[in-house]
């Protein structure tokens, strides 16, 4: 590996840009691919994109070459709108699962440091707060206030982002009313379908902690089981004989 390459990987991480290192396992030659910025459409870039989406480093085989695609994704993030009871259970669960969490609630009595010790809090309006956080495809956004004044501005911004998960608390009735409001501000069916509502995996959750589990489960499922674009990378199979170690 060249020190330059290493430096660029570190810069991309700081800038929250996914980057894939393509390494020729025979020659040791390497180059970096920014899979969501590179429009060349080559099979290698497509494979790099799939690897980044799956968050899985893997070997890509083409033209008799074995290219290792090493994925460097930015950290997972979660934006929780509503410093409510469910959030108090969801935030620590998300942190354990590796998410960098920000709680947004313009109601200062709710979004106070006392209720969420050690967590990044924003008391801005959700649209302003979320825009400033620049959600990307490694970000999940959850709205939990079921107050349209607070949740709707959050959704309006969330739906224009590439966030991999958007979920909104509320009954079927509440959710239908929410979708009707989104229609009036111009979000079509495809956009609305991105919202997980009623929120979470259906596990019969009742208590705030159980609801948090169901939300965390759904986010995990979305992160790990969403099919990738285009054709899959070549399936791993037994490799040809290589120079053995030891």
């Amino acid at each position: 590996m060249q020190s330059d390459t290493l430096g660029q990987i570190q810069n991309d991480r700081e800038g929250k840009t996914p980057v894939v290192r393509a390494l020729d396992l025979e020659s040791g030659e390497e180059h970096l691919i920014r899979p969501f910025e590179d429009d060349s459409g080559s099979p290698l870039v497509q494979a790099a994109r799939n690897a980044a989406l799956a968050d899985k480093s893997q070997v890509f085989e083409a033209d008799g070459k074995r290219i290792f695609l090493q994925v460097f994704n930015p950290p997972l993030r979660m934006i929780v709108v509503g410093a409510v009871h469910i959030s108090q259970a969801l935030v620590p669960m998300a942190q354990i699962a590796g998410y960098d969490v920000t709680v947004v609630d313009p109601r200062r009595a709710f979004g106070s440091d006392l209720r969420f010790p050690g967590v990044a809090l924003s008391n801005d309006w959700p649209d302003v707060a979320i825009e400033a956080l620049k959600p990307d495809r490694r970000t999940a956004i959850v709205t939990l206030t079921h107050d349209p004044k607070i949740d709707d501005p959050a959704l309006n911004v969330a739906l224009t982002s590439t966030a991999f998960y958007i979920g909104s608390l509320g009954s079927r009735k509440t959710h239908a009313a929410r979708l009707a409001r989104l229609t009036t501000v111009g979000f079509d069916d495809d956009a609305q379908a991105r919202i997980d509502g009623p929120i979470g995996l259906a596990i019969g959750a009742k208590s705030p902690a159980e609801i948090a589990i169901s939300i965390m489960a759904k986010i995990t499922q979305t992160l790990r089981q969403t099919p990738s674009e285009g054709s899959p990378v070549s399936v791993e199979q037994a490799p040809p004989a290589v120079s053995a170690g030891a």
Partner: protein, 113 residues
């Protein structure tokens, strides 16, 4: 734990260490798991960084094959020629370097230039 997933955080720390060591003028080699078959202890992408004094950070197998990888790494620091190593199922009756867990891994070892 607050920043990012444990694996990712670790990965970032390992590469930062590699860059720091290099900046201090040390010889550095990087070993990366590139593929796994069966039950392997660390997934593809896992890394071990070694310097010329055999200081190391990270892991490629959780201890089973590290010593063999370090030996190869020292040689690669000298020659600059990268190498693809393969470690297979260990025969528990023998003292061979191998994976007791019954998996197989390929590890790419290269010098940081």
């Amino acid at each position: 734990m607050k920043d990012s997933s444990l694996v990712q955080q670790e990965e970032a720390d390992i590469l930062r260490q590699a860059a720091d060591w290099k900046a201090q003028g040390r010889d550095v080699a990087i070993a990366t798991v590139v593929s796994t078959w069966g039950s392997a202890p660390r997934p593809a992408g896992s890394q071990l960084v070694v310097d010329g004094e055999m200081n190391m950070i990270g892991s490629v197998s959780g201890g089973c094959v590290e010593s063999a990888v370090v030996q190869e790494a020292l040689e690669i620091m000298e020659t600059g020629m990268p190498k693809l190593l393969e470690f297979g199922v260990s025969n528990s009756a023998a003292w061979d370097v191998g994976l007791a867990c019954g998996g197989k891994i390929q590890v790419f070892v290269e010098r940081l230039n």
